[in-house]
Symmetry: C2
Subunit: 306 residues, 2 copies
């Protein structure tokens, strides 16, 4: 079951030659979920081969650097003869302005576009095997983050034990693994609990968008397999992070540590930082034992099961 994250744009409000404006594509077993859509996102999608068959778009807040790619992306989807409806999830209170912006200069496309305000703390996309939840973050405008949370997986099937119990290899194995009791030819009934372990947790990927460090992120990102956190600044700009509603790498590391996340990826990198971001990785690692990533545009990571 693929769970693949492609960092389309990792810059902050101003792009650089190396970093395009914010956008993240998550491909969950073929469902393409786009989080934020800064200027240039459609072309990054082409460059990095994510595919254009987007299921939903999730906008964290309506600052320009997170939305200016929407009108062009929608026009390109229309040129490509998309017919499937598109849902764009947006923070509460922003749908009407965003609709005006997206369609200010274009006719309506040949597919329906629903711009749907989220209620933070609730599920905004319900899919077989996973859901996407919105949660309030702490920026200088109404802003939300999103968590992709997979359902629990079936417990591990103990094939050896099943054979010992005399279950014949074949469909009865699947029935047991699916939680159904089976009757053997000799009349004995085998309960699934005898051969199937406890359900195992699914994976969890959390994207904060722009935010100061927040307790809500700590809660939502509890044991997350990947926390993609605002890492606009390094220690040298701690005050500026507070003022502008962003985080330093160290603060993001602290959130990841409190949440007991497995991996932390820092995004929304201020244009003042060039090169490999060694300071940010070092600073995030002081509070946080897990892996710290500072993705470049186009980096793609697979999220393994824990």
């Amino acid at each position: 079951m693929t769970l693949r994250v492609t960092f389309l744009g990792t810059s902050g409000a101003v792009p650089t030659t190396a970093r395009s404006l914010p956008g993240i594509m998550i491909n969950r077993d073929g469902d393409r979920l786009l989080f934020d859509c800064g200027e240039g996102t459609q072309r990054q999608m082409m460059q990095f081969h994510t595919g254009f068959d987007i299921a939903d778009i999730f906008i964290t807040h309506t600052h320009g650097d997170h939305i200016y790619g929407l009108p062009g992306l929608i026009e390109t989807l229309d040129f490509n003869d998309r017919s499937a409806p598109l849902t764009i999830h947006v923070p509460p209170g922003t749908a009407s302005d965003l609709r005006s912006f997206i369609f200010a200069a274009s006719g309506r496309p040949g597919f329906s576009v629903e711009i749907k305000p989220v209620t933070p703390g609730t599920t905004v996309r319900e899919a077989p095997e996973y859901e996407v939840r919105a949660f309030r973050v702490d920026h200088d405008v109404t802003a939300v983050g999103y968590a992709l949370i997979e359902d629990e997986r079936k417990g591990r099937f103990d094939r050896e034990r099943a054979e010992e119990l005399g279950v014949p290899v074949g469909p009865k194995f699947s029935q047991l693994h699916d939680g159904k009791a089976v009757e053997l030819e000799d009349g004995r009934v085998i309960e699934p609990e005898q051969v199937v372990g406890p359900p195992r947790p699914g994976r969890r990927v959390v994207y904060t968008g722009d935010t100061r460090p927040s307790d809500r992120t700590v809660e939502v990102a509890s044991e997350a397999d990947l926390l993609i956190h605002d890492g606009t600044f390094a220690d040298d700009c701690t005050e500026r992070a507070v003022e502008t509603g962003h985080s330093t790498a160290r603060q993001a590391g602290r959130v990841a540590a409190l949440a007991d996340a497995r991996r932390l990826a820092l995004v929304h990198i201020s244009s003042r930082y060039a090169g490999p971001l060694d300071a940010q990785r070092r600073e995030a690692r002081e509070p946080f034992d897990g892996e710290v990533l500072t993705p470049e545009d186009g980096d793609t990571i697979e999220v393994p099961f824990p």
Copy 2:
């Protein structure tokens, strides 16, 4: 006197991995003039080192592919603490919608932005040594092209003749070249016509934006040093060019031939064409004897004096 054209984006309505959306920067002796501003233009400006100190922006029409880069560019200029006012020239009847679009998702920047409808057939930017004129083109919405027209240059100064006439080397040379008569020590008066040739034409660069072939373009591009023309299609899509208000390479070549232009550059290349555009160059050259260019993004050409 630099006259340098940088092709920032050469795609049609849909970008490709090779071609970004429409935008052309002309640097005329330090005056940076941006023509159209498709999504991604600001980043192309960074990649291709054109500088951000833009004098004016000239929009040919308000289809998304020509304007979706404006809000982000203006925000970046604001982040860079621009204070100089910015004028955006737009086709008649589009100023109010364009203003709504540009500022839909952002506060007003710290510099003034004037969105100024042009009157086709008139000068829209008057500068020392050159002007920019707008002219009506033939697209499926109100659309204009722009011509950068340099003033006539002084005639050639005949230094040998001046020395024969006894004019002393020094300031009197400049006075004569500037059109002023000078009196020599022996009382003789030398008229500028005696040592200065007839005024020489300046250079002319014409950009059509999106258009079918048009007589107005032929007029405005008369003896142009560079005609940058809609070349969306090749011969295989001649009907589609008519339907959609665009041109084929051959049609652009015919316009360039009728105008007796020196060079033709084809832009707004449909995403259906990849690679080096050999067909387009061949087709444009059939009617047109001059040089045909099919610029790639980032190509920069100097326009020499004729």
